[in-house]
Symmetry: D2
Subunit: 346 residues, 4 copies
Amino acid sequence: MINVGIIGATGYAGYETLRILLSHPMFNVTCIVSKSFVGQKIAEIYPNLYNVCDLVCDELDYDIILGKADCFVVSLPHGASQEAVATLYKAGKKVVDLSADYRYENSSTYEKTYKLPHEYKDILEKAVYGLPELNREKIKKTSLVANPGCYPTCSILGVAPLLAEKLIDTSSIIIDAASGVTGAGRNQDLMYQFNECTENFMAYKIASHRHTTEIEEKLSDIAGKEVIVTFTPHLVPMKRGMMATIYATLNNAIDSEYIYNVYKEFYKGEYFVRIKNSDTLVVTKGVVASNFVDISIHIDKRTNRVIVISAIDNIGKGASSQAVQNMNLMYGLEETLGISQPGTYL
Amino acid sequence: MINVGIIGATGYAGYETLRILLSHPMFNVTCIVSKSFVGQKIAEIYPNLYNVCDLVCDELDYDIILGKADCFVVSLPHGASQEAVATLYKAGKKVVDLSADYRYENSSTYEKTYKLPHEYKDILEKAVYGLPELNREKIKKTSLVANPGCYPTCSILGVAPLLAEKLIDTSSIIIDAASGVTGAGRNQDLMYQFNECTENFMAYKIASHRHTTEIEEKLSDIAGKEVIVTFTPHLVPMKRGMMATIYATLNNAIDSEYIYNVYKEFYKGEYFVRIKNSDTLVVTKGVVASNFVDISIHIDKRTNRVIVISAIDNIGKGASSQAVQNMNLMYGLEETLGISQPGTYL
Amino acid sequence: MINVGIIGATGYAGYETLRILLSHPMFNVTCIVSKSFVGQKIAEIYPNLYNVCDLVCDELDYDIILGKADCFVVSLPHGASQEAVATLYKAGKKVVDLSADYRYENSSTYEKTYKLPHEYKDILEKAVYGLPELNREKIKKTSLVANPGCYPTCSILGVAPLLAEKLIDTSSIIIDAASGVTGAGRNQDLMYQFNECTENFMAYKIASHRHTTEIEEKLSDIAGKEVIVTFTPHLVPMKRGMMATIYATLNNAIDSEYIYNVYKEFYKGEYFVRIKNSDTLVVTKGVVASNFVDISIHIDKRTNRVIVISAIDNIGKGASSQAVQNMNLMYGLEETLGISQPGTYL
Amino acid sequence: MINVGIIGATGYAGYETLRILLSHPMFNVTCIVSKSFVGQKIAEIYPNLYNVCDLVCDELDYDIILGKADCFVVSLPHGASQEAVATLYKAGKKVVDLSADYRYENSSTYEKTYKLPHEYKDILEKAVYGLPELNREKIKKTSLVANPGCYPTCSILGVAPLLAEKLIDTSSIIIDAASGVTGAGRNQDLMYQFNECTENFMAYKIASHRHTTEIEEKLSDIAGKEVIVTFTPHLVPMKRGMMATIYATLNNAIDSEYIYNVYKEFYKGEYFVRIKNSDTLVVTKGVVASNFVDISIHIDKRTNRVIVISAIDNIGKGASSQAVQNMNLMYGLEETLGISQPGTYL
């Protein structure tokens, strides 16, 4: 068994990583770190863990935690993650960082987007962007994975085949996305209070969400040229689940069957990516509590546009289970180990 | 008081029209017609009406109902509405039709979209499209109003100023919309069952929703040339509320303030259209249970696109309260009578 | 028009009172007071009020507000309300207090329950408990109404006929109640965050909720002897609505029809109390956004118990619309003025 | 691996059993039977299973299915289950029946409750009531388990220690319970439509729910004398989760600590029963998607009543995962195999 520590274990992504690892045959969580709940059992915060997990929250004291685990999942706010990741990495640990701090190849894009200097550019260079379907071999060889954002995971996997196969006008991409409320984290803002969220739908951070530049950097890599997108996130009154509805103009008139086969071929052998016929509805509850990505592709012949629907669980494939997928790869384990099960649907 | 009949009163749009009219100072519902509940009190179906409304459902027998009211709201499925509206209209009644049957100027577009012949083209020619903010004077003079669809109301009011002022490339319009579940009506399909809908988000009828051609016909009128749009509806796990997130490419670089003023000017004096600053969040619960339309406009400078957020209550401004707005106009009453109140928010 | 001030207008009960009064033909809100939002428009907090209500929040400065209104609704936390109500009352204003501060006849019960001294016992003596169906004549003559708690309103109206007619063992009353989340107010506690509340049901403050003593004092009055009850509240993942399921042992075997008639007779002429047949389902959405109380009564012959279902809107009849009902009575207006409409159902 | 067939696999309980067994190390589902979906893949109905489970629905043809599996879970409506279970049992299969058909020791109680004759009384005599915490040894030895109802599971486990230890007046038991909407099954009734269920709470089948007699038969066994209870179920706007709030009068004054210890002792060694301190909130989301039962016990000193809160997942411990627990026992496997994980919480 490989001993794992989770920094920021009481937030939703940290907690979900813990929950997944409790059933994992090769990883054993031996250390959880929290800022606000030091000395408390995680089961006092998440009552489902009562009598199942007896872990107690440590403070972020490296003298203590470095001896407790070989691999760390860091689930801290961006900015705060920079130093924690650097410290763990320098100490020879394998690290998966859930924050944005090590996601960008171009540190100045990070600095402009997050309005923060990057203090560990040497380590940033070592980081691998943890999207296994596009980056598998690099992930296998690295000790530092920057786990992608939820919107980027959902969007990039949806668009990638179109760019790789040069099927679309790269300046035409519009990503209209929607997320469940766990996307905001374990957050006490009034905006996320039940009475405010339920029976409500809204767009937010229109043309200004920070995930936009992350999406663009990765899409530009795939396209081999700069890709600029319009990105609009929405908040949906549900806990979990995320959908990107992606629009782009086709370079040539192609039909549904053709493009379906492009996607099938591009994601051939990928267990977690499920390409659906254009007459099958993709629904977020088909992927919730799983690591799957469900994608359908539709041609709007009248406007010569392609519309891609891409659905994930924002805290599954969009955060925690993707972190475990990356850990499996980093340790040379079967990629699907502990995360192969379907979602709950109900 | 003006006597009103509602045909199809037990469906959600018919019911909501009744509920609104119960508090209206000038309209008095004297007749409700239902197919499935003949002889039953409406209060047996909608328990909130117990001891408040004693109306009993009639069957659709013109000998009976023509004598009971001077104005009829018809809330039947498309197709079924054709004959009912024609009969009432020919009998000299004022009619507001909530179906799609009389919404199209071009009957062949209707026939292609709904895959039905139109049997009353002479009467179709008399119908006025009931979007008061764009069509007020015609509505005042007609006896037959075709009440717009919910998605069209939300979309057209969001796009109209851009087209009227020729600010956008007319071939670039993408409408990504989302609706609460009442949009599907009082519908027993498994898909709309609580366990299936809650905690779920999905796109449906991608590039094939029937409201697309309705939107296009009206936008083409405004643009003075043919407008084709990409339209994708989504289903949100909430009862009421609708949002359109509309994308278009600007003809020229303009800023947020400029475009805000274009909208303010275009909708000057319109009580029900509220133009918000681009830094104010538009939320569906701001309009639910009201006749308001909340709109914010955003410029994505990097891509030279405009993004318009337009929110309505799908069964309010998207159906029932807009029907009452039209009735007020048809009878020369104050346009806001009985529908001026804000939504409930909670 | 009577000028009204609302102290604590940005909380849910204060806001809802404002929303109701915006459509009231005789009351005109001229002053709203907030602690946290001084100088801000209420429409910035509740976007449904945009362009509908231009009121700006005042601070609680009596020099300013006393001149602005003749009647005040005080919606402050218990304890904080004591002084505010006393000040307004002494200044000759009519006051409806939504807090618990003036609800108890016995100040020591209040002090034990709320663990606070009562500093204005002389004024407490003047206060009338604002449950119009039981206390109408006193309310008409007072200048100070203590508006009942939501659970007490729902429970007392459900039990009253049983006690008044001496049909039950007074020591056998168990009240099992459930409330929507607005019952917790505009509250940022993590417990009321969307992700925590949704898809969850829980009992809380079991055998220790503060509304218990309020219920007991009023039931004891009706019974003419001390009544002690077991009271268990639950939290339901919905915004609005409250139900009390009340159990008591019958003194004698009686049947459903008999007891139905007892309730019909007891609440004869009461517009807001709707007694339903035992074969009709009482549902909270039948009363949400209204001032109605829906009650059904059931006999469990096998155990000789009566089961009463009583449903209200916790912030309607349980707070704001009941406050308006009391204001109507205090001013000699028609009791149902501005609050007679049915709930929204959808 | 043991081959398992599921009769009625497309309903919620059948599906959930399948989903659990997909991750079970010893059971292998080889056969699924459906009435409405013969020839269709289960993954067409439950999209989360796409590419995960390729099973196709068989019709209920014993010639086919008897050869496919050694153990059957029968998830048919009551009545329909009688013959299916008898046939499978007589063919030498191990059977877990999720319906009510084989739950009663007293067939006449069954016949009165379900208004159906029991055609297989000889087989009924062989059936063991599958509540492992109370009936473990018998389950280990039987080939036919009648899986308990969801309300009975939740209620009986909550009350059992009180009766076993003779701590309460057996005539004083009131069970006030609440269930998520999956309790109604995959049901197209309008009552369970999203718009009807959401934002609504209701009691139903007051003093007349069929689970009452099931609860009574089992509690009478424990008490050693006839126990009659009052039982009121409620419907909560959530998918999964169930809570029973149970009231009884204590024979003697005892305190919280004493009774807590009684429960701890009674359920000593039971992995799935978690007794919580009376100051810990029991919440349904603590058990959803798990086989756990969370119980807290509270003393209302003023009325000398005990209040027990018991929470389960209605389709987990209340149906499918309890079926698997029973199957584990029937096959001599570790009781917790495949069902030991905590719920999802989020």
